[in-house]
């Protein structure tokens, strides 16, 4: 693997993405749900940042706000110092839900962003094929999503977003429906692409090992309301080989994240059960 550490000068540059004091509340029939509570974050160009936190803590909401898809929040998001209103051309998103277009073949799905930006057909097909091969789907170009497994569809969605060549890549649990081996390989691939294209990548994951293996930093979020519990600097050398993963330092990061998340998850489950009990007692 030809993964080189980023030049220090670049990594130290101004934040490419700044999230400033975001508060997001959803009105629901049972009252207001505070999804994000004064979340601030700044991401350097070329950085790989993972977001980790218990289910329902507001990770997807944070991504939707950064991606310009969610309005009605307090606070500020800026990209390259410029305030963001609506989807920004520098941002590419991979969604948590299955999001391939069922009426398009794999090739046509991956071509999609290029078609929108008016790239000539021959050229965009060639580019799309490259990204399809990158996610290990070479040979499936003319299949329809209905003929693919869940993990394969997710890879199509990843390839489609990669074809957009965004400066900032937001991926919401893109590897969730993959087996451990594919997950590792694809994680490596994404990392490789990220370093080649100098892409800034934000990844939501539930997989602690994966987060430590891939990230420069990890943002741990609290259970509702989602706050920043901790930002962990993963100062392990790159490339992170199986040796790194077996190392003591790696183990310490994993243990730290484990205990953080266990606390939050326990609190989350307790609160949720309490809520349901109260609801059951209601009129």
């Amino acid at each position: 693997m030809s993964v080189l550490p980023l030049p220090k000068a670049q990594a130290a540059a101004d934040p490419i993405l700044a999230v400033d004091d975001i508060v997001m509340e959803f009105p629901t029939p049972d009252g207001v749900v505070k999804a994000l509570d004064h979340v601030s974050l700044s991401v350097r160009a070329g950085e790989f940042l993972s977001v980790i936190g218990p289910s329902g803590c507001g990770k997807s909401t944070l991504f939707n706000i950064v991606g310009g898809l969610q309005r009605g929040y307090q606070g500020r998001v800026s990209i390259g110092g410029e305030a963001v209103e609506g989807p920004h051309p520098a941002i590419g998103m991979v969604f948590q839900e299955e999001s391939t277009f069922p009426w398009r073949t794999v090739l046509q799905n991956v071509e999609f962003p290029l078609e929108i930006s008016g790239v000539a057909k021959a050229r965009r097909q060639e580019m799309a094929r490259r990204f399809i091969a990158m996610v290990g789907l070479g040979g499936f170009e003319n299949r329809y999503p209905a003929e693919l497994s869940g993990g394969m569809k997710q890879r199509v969605a990843i390839a489609r977003t990669l074809a957009f060549e965004p400066k900032i890549l937001l991926m919401d649990e893109p590897f969730a429906s993959l087996d451990e081996q594919t997950r590792l390989l694809l994680g490596d691939k994404v990392l490789q692409i990220q370093q080649e294209l100098q892409q800034t990548t934000l990844l939501i994951t539930h997989n602690i090992t994966e987060a430590v293996q891939l990230s420069d930093r990890i943002l741990v979020m609290t259970y509702r309301p989602g706050r920043v519990k901790r930002i962990l600097d993963i100062d392990l050398p790159r490339p992170r080989t199986s040796e790194t993963i077996g190392s003591e330092a790696f183990g310490r990061f994993v243990a730290q994240l484990w205990s953080d998340l266990r606390d939050e998850a326990t609190r989350g489950m307790d609160e949720q059960q309490e809520l349901m009990r109260n609801a059951g007692r209601g009129p």
């Binding site: 310009g68 898809l69 989807p87 590419g92 969604f95 999001s99 999609f112 962003p113 929108i116």
Partner: protein, 254 residues
Amino acid sequence: MTSRLRIDDGPLPALMGLAGIAALLLLIEGLISVGLLNPFIVPKPSQVIGSFYRVVVEENVLERFVLTIKECLFAVALVTIVGVSIGVLLHRVSLLRQATETWVAAFASAPVVLMYPLFLVMFGRSALTIVMMGFAAGLPPVILKTIEGLSSTRRVLLAVGQSFKLTPRQMFWKIQLPSSLPAIFVGLKLGLIFALINIVGVEFLINFGGLGQLINDLAERYDLPGTYAAISFVVVVSVGFFMIAERAERWLIR
């Protein structure tokens, strides 16, 4: 969705279908022979088949066939263009939709065919009246299904479009419309059935051209086998249109 994955069973399903029809006809034939069915109400299938040649040669079936098909084509084309457009409009303007959706649904179950005198007054005793009746009858399901398809477009697909910065126009043509096509086709197939029923019905009622008029003629002459033979031709038209619709659907939706 599932049809895409269907394993091709070869000609077996079609053969089974034909065998089923043959068995039914034999049964009717038998029931009439033993006197359980009145041959003056239901003619023997063998007689009906025997009258095909006569009806085709003497009654200008080919010409009538073409006329009915033409009327159907015009009606279906109108239903598609107008129905989908109205559906899109109602989906866009939610006030308009809330105001009219129930009415459209009510209209779908109304016996439109009874409005033929009104259409006669408006369009005269012509093929136009027939086409317009077919159009009116086929319109509601297409409108309703178009609205349904558009409003059930998955949110995440729209989010994908937004994140790729699609213009509203691209959003419609590249995401909303293709994702609604399966529902729209359900509407079109229903609309086709309603249109055909009404077209043949009005041909029958106003005694103007086409297969409906032939059915009327033969029935009035009390040529029962001929009447049923003519009805068979209507079935052929219906099957033909259905097959075209399914082809188009498979070609458009994959």
